[in-house]
Symmetry: C2
């Protein structure tokens, strides 16, 4: 049910001391035989790119898309740490390489936590030997727990393909963490695939999952999604691999939004009838990121005027006399004006933990979906301070 479910992978999680709480804070996912396998990565577009992201990208370029392992720490993002941060990330990879008998370029690295604080490198390095010693083929859950920050539950997934398996672990949802930020995910598969195919499958899967959700509209300095393919299950149908990777990403994304900080509801914002898919996506994101809409969902208030107003200011092509809005199938606005509806049915929709909002722009065939959540007092509580 986790990143070690596909054949050929081991993992572990330990506490090395970065987190004062004593919680696990260092994780490792590696190939069982310590040999490089095809690997792919998708990274944050934030220009304030964290050192581990730069390091991982460079290693994948150097090897041409192969890797033996990824080490992940929670409690410190190693971001806005300059040249020292880059040296720390490289030293971390070298320490893992020494334990596994590979080169530093074969090791990828992810960090999540506070920005602008030097990585406690000695503390981290002290954990590498015990971490490597703990590697085992049932260690996925332990690794998933060691990358948690403000997550309340560990996030794991397994998708069974035809003759192969995709597994994964993840933490966080975009930059919604207070002290610690970032969305990280590590996926594995026993399918055999070339790095180029793997990269294409991961990019497509991320586009429809992690890139189609929004908690607070923020993009972390450290966001990273990795995919390793051991090849233990042999060659597979390429379309089936794309589908399984996409399903695994979508499942982890739903888990992230559902566990978003302080959220009481998951909300699916679906725009249909837009002039283009791009317009639909833009409008859906605008609604999903609107504090006014987010507050209304928290208050279970079906105030569709805010939905229409946000779409109107999204930049998407829009005709206010054509829009139709519904909550959970109850239509509250037709042709841009209020429409009669069953208030009791609507009340039940708004009270549920999952709300589906559909706005049909009546202009074309463009569609887009963003998965998001409500804005609550608890979000503010968690984000008022870093200590």
């Amino acid at each position: 049910m986790t990143v070690t479910t596909p054949q050929g992978f081991v993992a572990a999680g330990v506490h090395c001391g970065i987190k004062a709480s004593g919680d696990p804070d260092l994780a490792l996912v590696a190939t069982a035989d310590r040999h490089p396998v095809a690997a792919a990565g998708v990274f944050t577009t934030n220009k304030a790119t964290a050192a581990p992201v730069l390091t991982t990208r460079r290693h994948l370029e150097t090897t041409g898309g192969y890797a033996v392992a990824v080490i992940l720490n929670s409690g410190n993002a190693n971001a806005a740490t300059g040249a020292a941060g880059l040296a720390d990330a490289e030293q971390t990879c070298q320490a893992v390489a020494d334990e596994l008998g590979c080169t530093a370029d074969d090791v990828l690295v992810c960090s999540t936590g506070l920005i602008g604080i030097p990585l406690p490198i000695d503390t981290l390095l002290s954990g590498v030997a015990p971490l490597a010693a703990a590697l085992n083929d049932e260690g996925g859950t332990s690794a998933a727990e060691a990358i948690m920050t403000t997550d309340t539950v560990a996030k794991e997934v397994v998708v069974e393909g035809d003759g192969f398996t995709v597994g994964g672990i993840a933490k966080g949802a975009a930059m919604l963490a207070p002290n610690m930020a970032t969305m990280l995910a590590v996926l594995t598969t026993d399918a055999e695939a070339q790095p180029g195919v793997l990269q294409a499958a991961l990019r497509a899967g991320v586009a429809d999952s992690f890139n189609a959700m929004s908690v607070d509209g923020c993009t972390s300095t450290n966001d990273t999604v990795l995919l390793f393919a051991s090849g233990a299950a042999g060659p597979v149908d390429e379309a089936a691999l794309f589908e399984a990777v996409a399903d695994a990403c979508a499942d982890l994304a739903r888990q992230m939004v559902g566990d978003a900080e302080g959220a009481t509801k998951v909300v699916e914002v679906r725009i249909t009838g837009a002039a283009s898919d791009e317009d639909a996506q833009r409008a859906a994101r605008r609604v999903a990121d609107s504090n006014l809409c987010k507050c209304s969902w928290y208050g279970q208030d079906p105030y569709w005027g805010r939905i229409v107003s946000e779409i109107g200011s999204s930049g998407a092509e829009f005709d206010p006399d054509k829009v139709k809005v519904s909550y959970g199938g109850v239509t509250v606005c037709r042709k841009g004006v209020a429409s009669m509806h069953d208030a009791n049915a609507l009340g039940e929709v708004m009270a549920a933990p999952y709300i589906e909002i559909v706005a049909d722009l009546g202009l074309g065939k463009g569609e887009g979906i963003i998965l998001t959540n409500d804005l609550t007092h608890a979000y503010i509580d968690e984000n008022m301070g870093t200590s």
Copy 2:
């Protein structure tokens, strides 16, 4: 000290019954002699444009930039109300015209309140005759009070030019209102100016004030800023007029941000050293609209990592190794990494009701400022429901 301070204007505010609370909900600003004067307007860019905005725009086009009066109601936005809403706005103008002895095209109209609810037109019309009867040259404050929604104080301004005066009233700050939305402002001057000059002065003033502030990043369906010039003070220096209008707009914008819903702090986000002014403005807006930054200000937490992360994801040109960040003159980040600073001085800066944040990108000469505020529990309370 208000919209009736410049020579040649009268105003009034009454309760007609749109607001159940009994508070004033209908305002009128008119020329003292009921003759048309040069007038200019700047409006929302939201494509879900409210009926009164469409009506006011059309009237100004028809007259070529002249008007006698503007009527403003609070408690209902007359937005997402279709053809009926347009007819209601037109009928409102006609009723005012009948009272003042001018044509409906000479009358402008603004509304603020709930979206998607039909305007109670009979209620509104019942207030027009008493409103016109109450017009007087000290009525500005009364008008300012009648356009308030969740504002806690009326917003008024007077700027003295060389031989002329600019006065104004305003309500709200962007779409930060819960039940009722919208930013409205009516400015008057006794300077003599052609409609084209007036329009240019207003557009320039709005760009550096109302369009350089952000409460929650939302753009209302009803935002309107109007400027009337009675000419009673005769011709004036054009540059002086531009400056006085800009000062009046800036003053009202500061009042709005300071009275933003639930806000405990006003925050000035200043970006310097950007590759261009556009980049600086984009980066400043991204920081100002970030919930993570807004929450940290509420918690008085000088977590500059969030500032850097938001700039990095703003789309502006950015080099993480060159950025410098300071709060109230206390520099916390130099060349992209943490810098030594006086923690006590920083604590005092963060505790103050006004915080100036400067981020120097170290790339060029581009500068931009956005005035904003913090995100608080009270904002959520006020925006959870419409009733």
